[in-house]
């Protein structure tokens, strides 16, 4: 629940999602669900030349299970809030 809530609060911000197949996509976070499936808008692929088939993709749905990383915007990270939420979650809250 912690990261689902976290990503819900991040909606509207720019993130870079890096997939397990090395494809990296930058875009505006449009929505997220409980599986951490992600929808991005106004997307652009970081290494466009390597992925020509992605040229006209503007919006996309990414299956949560194929995500390796999400690069987060610094203004979307409140470390104190995250520490508290993590301790609460660890207690089974």
């Amino acid at each position: 629940m912690l990261f689902f809530s976290y990503f819900k609060d991040l909606v509207g911000r720019e993130v870079t999602v890096e997939l397990k197949n090395d494809l990296a996509i930058r875009g505006t976070l449009h929505s997220v669900d409980q599986y951490l499936n992600i929808k991005l808008e106004n997307t652009r692929v970081v290494d466009q030349d390597k992925y020509p088939h992605m040229l006209s993709v503007r919006n996309c749905f990414i299956r949560g299970s194929v995500v390796r990383y999400v690069q987060l915007p610094p203004e979307g990270v409140d470390t104190d809030l995250l520490h508290d939420a993590t301790r609460r979650e660890a207690r089974g809250g």
Partner: protein, 114 residues
């Protein structure tokens, strides 16, 4: 959850294949029904769309579902469309080159043990 229904989409699969088609349904597991599906095979600057028909794709194989912007070019201008036969030849040539590199490496490893 999904507003892409009835749109032309690109579905990337875990094995690297690229399917295109019209989304007819979609569920919580990302199972997908694609109508008039085709596979876009790309080898270097060559590509070909191979018609497949109606496909039900199991969710766990789906990497990404992309909505295509019809205002934009689907592929860069330097890419050339070729026939199914030609793309298959190009695919085989690419595979043979990779296989050769792998087998040469094995031979060299073998020599190292002498």
């Amino acid at each position: 959850m999904f507003k892409y229904i009835a749109e032309k989409l690109l579905v990337l699969l875990r094995d690297g294949r690229k399917l295109m088609g019209i989304l007819r349904s979609f569920d919580q597991f990302a199972n997908v029904v694609l109508e008039s599906a085709s596979e876009r095979v790309i080898v270097g600057d060559l590509y070909c769309d191979i018609p497949l028909g109606l496909y039900v794709i199991r969710g766990e194989n789906v990497v990404l579902i992309g909505e295509l912007d019809l205002e934009r070019e689907e592929l860069p201008p330097h890419m050339t469309r070729v026939s199914a036969e030609e793309i298959k030849r190009a695919q085989k040539a690419e595979k043979d080159a990779t296989d050769l590199k792998g087998s040469m490496r094995k031979r060299m490893e073998f020599l190292d043990f002498d």
